[in-house]
């Protein structure tokens, strides 16, 4: 699992590469926490284009980032979501909470 972050003014893009499972989640959460505290962005973009696998451990990583961005009064979106991670995210209805690949979350929850 590799995380790369690209700050662009008020926007922070974090790209994920590899397999996001329980084995990788702790480190990913930690890296994301640190990045958010350092940059305090208004918008967080999660780029999942390099993700080869994700399970429910990834749901917890995304939810944690979502909650932190809510505290900061900012927004989150996900882009370049491959099929397998997309299916897992939709099973947890995260696509209804966080815009995924340009599709707006239907209920402004």
């Amino acid at each position: 699992m590799e995380l790369k972050s690209i700050p662009r003014g008020a926007e922070l893009e974090v790209s994920f590469a590899g397999e996001l499972d329980h084995h990788a989640a702790k480190q990913a959460m930690h890296a994301l926490d640190e990045e958010l505290e350092e940059q305090l962005p208004r918008n967080l973009v999660l780029d999942f284009g390099g993700l080869q696998f994700m399970d429910s451990s990834g749901i917890a990583v995304v939810m944690r980032a979502y909650r932190r961005m809510q505290e900061l009064g900012g927004s989150v979106c996900m882009k370049n979501v491959p099929d397998q991670p997309g299916k897992v995210l939709r099973a947890a209805a995260l696509d209804r909470l966080i815009p995924m690949d340009g599709k707006k979350a239907p209920s402004g929850l």
């Binding site: 499972d21 084995h23 399970d55 429910s56 917890a60 099929d83 397998q84 099973a91």
Partner: protein, 147 residues
Amino acid sequence: MKRARNQADLQFPSHSANEGFARAAAACFAAQLDPTLEELGDIKTAVSEAVTNCIVHAYPDTIGSIALKLRHHDGNVLEIVVRDWGCGIENIEQAREPLFTTGGADRSGMGFTIMESFMDSLRIRSVPGRGTTVTMKKKIAQRAAVR
């Protein structure tokens, strides 16, 4: 059930590095049933959920043993059994409910829900203090061979 057409049995300790090993092994075995990429993704996800549950819930403070059994049955049915000898589950019905978790903020309570929806069937047997056995099945549609 009739004897399986093919089978593989694995046993490994509950190190989190084995999550990736278990789903790769299951995917390799499942390849014999000629699944689509989506079906293969479903199988890897379900195995990852079941094995992760053994690692985080069954053996929270120790390293224990996990068994993974893979069976190829007639009718192109894949059967996956994941077994541990850990703490067990008190209330299985409650454990299967979406969002139910004893794992705090690091977990989302979606593992069993995902196993159930990504596979055709999910059976959970558990004895508190003795361990848990999760059995999942998925029929892989037989496609016309491409020559």
